[in-house]
Subunit: 214 residues, 2 copies
C-alpha cells in the first residue's frame, strides 16, 4: 500500500471554533465537507486529543472559519500547533462571536458557518461530527480559499500529529532544550511556528534554548 | 443564511467504483476525505438515488479513482450525469479490476484506493460510508489532482442534483423534446454533457431533437 496516494486527495483548511464555558477555543482541521444539501449538513473529523473535541461534545455547537490563501502562517500555527487546554488561541486574533455563541475569525477568511451537532461517531483516533448548518455567511470581499495543497506546497506547511493525513512512519526532527534536556518532537509542528512567548514546558526556558537534535 | 458561503469549501473529484454482480458500476463524488491515519480510513457521502450506493451496501466494497485535471469532461459526464442502473459507465473507459474485485479507471487519475466499508450512517438524502483503505496506489506519472473549484471554474462544470453541494433553489435551465415534449431538467447535468448516443427517454429521438426551453 502506497500511502502517498492519499496525498492527492484535495482539502481546504478551516479553523473550528467552540466554547469552553465563557472561553473561546479552536483548532485547525482539513476535513470539513458538505454531506447533504436538504437540510445543509457538514461532517468534520476531529482528533480525540484535541481539546476542541471535548468542548464540541459538551456544547454541541461549533463554528467553521473557511481560511483564505492570505491567512498568515502564524494564525495556522496558533490554532494548529498548540493546545487550547491552557492557551487562549483567539487572543490577538481578529475574531467575533456569532449567535448562538461561537467564536469565528473575522479576517483572512472566505466565510463562516455556525453548526449544531446532530450525530457523532467515534473512530479509532478521531470523532466524526455530523452537524446541521444553522447559519452561513460569506466574506464581503471574495478571497481565494486556502487549499491543503497550497498550504503544504506554497506555504511550506507541515502535517501535525493530530491530523487524519499524518503519516506515522514519517521521520520527524526533534529539538532538545539546552537547559533541561526536554525533547520537543517536530511531529507536533515545527518549532519555528510556535508563538514567540512559547517556553520549555519542563524548565520554562525561552524558545532560543531549544537546539536541533541529531 | 447565505448558502453561497459553502461554495468556498474545497473538494477534489473522484470516481467511485463498485460491483453489481459481475458488472462494474460507478459514480462521481466530491466528498472523499481521510478520517483517521491509524488505521487509514476514509469517509464518503453518496446520494440514496445513486445506484452505486445500493451496490456498495450489498458488497461492502468500493474503489476511489482520484481524478486528475486532465480528465475529459466526457468521463465526468459519463459517471456523473447518467445512472448505472441501466448503463455500463465503464464501457469505453480505460479501466481495470483491483483485488478483491473493484473497478478503477486507469488513465487521467492521480491514484486509486480500494476500500472496505466498516460503518455507515443514513443521512437525509445521502449515505455516509466509513471505510478502511485496504490498498492505495499512486499513478506512475504524477498528475495535478482535479479540484472541484477547477471543475466548476476552468472546466465550466455544473453541479448535479445528487451532489451534496447542489443548491435546490438555483434556477435551472431545461430542454423540451421537439418531437414529444419531454422535459429534460438541467439539474441532472447540462444536455451537452450527455453521451452522444443519448436519446429522449420518452420517444427515443436523438439529442438534436431537444430544444432549449424558456
Amino acid at each position: 500500500m502506497d500511502r502517498s496516494a492519499l496525498n492527492d486527495m484535495t482539502y481546504g483548511l478551516f479553523v473550528l471554533g467552540a466554547m469552553d464555558g465563557a472561553r473561546p477555543v479552536g483548532c485547525v482541521v482539513n476535513t470539513v465537507v458538505q454531506l447533504t444539501s436538504e437540510p445543509v449538513t457538514v461532517g468534520v473529523s476531529v482528533n480525540h486529543n484535541n481539546y476542541t473535541n471535548e468542548c464540541i461534545k459538551k456544547t454541541g455547537l461549533f463554528s467553521v472559519s473557511i481560511l483564505s490563501e492570505e491567512v498568515p502562517m502564524e494564525t495556522i500555527a496558533a490554532f494548529g500547533f498548540q493546545s487550547g487546554r491552557n492557551t487562549d488561541k483567539f487572543a490577538g486574533m481578529k475574531s467575533r462571536m456569532k449567535q448562538p455563541g461561537v467564536p469565528v475569525l473575522s479576517e483572512n477568511i472566505c466565510g463562516t458557518l455556525v453548526c449544531r451537532v446532530v450525530e457523532s461517531m467515534e473512530l479509532s483516533t478521531h470523532t466524526l461530527f455530523i452537524a446541521e448548518v444553522m447559519d452561513a455567511e460569506r466574506a464581503k470581499v471574495p478571497l481565494p480559499p486556502l487549499t491543503y495543497a497550497y498550504y503544504l506546497k506554497v506555504k511550506n506547511g507541515t502535517v501535525p500529529k493530530n491530523a487524519p493525513t499524518y503519516i506515522p512512519s514519517e521521520k520527524k526532527e526533534h529539538y532538545d532544550c539546552s537547559v533541561c534536556g526536554f525533547r520537543y518532537d517536530d511531529g507536533e509542528g515545527p518549532l519555528e511556528f510556535l508563538p514567540a512567548g512559547w517556553t520549555c514546558p519542563r524548565c520554562g526556558s525561552p524558545k532560543d534554548a531549544m537546539e536541533k537534535g541529531t
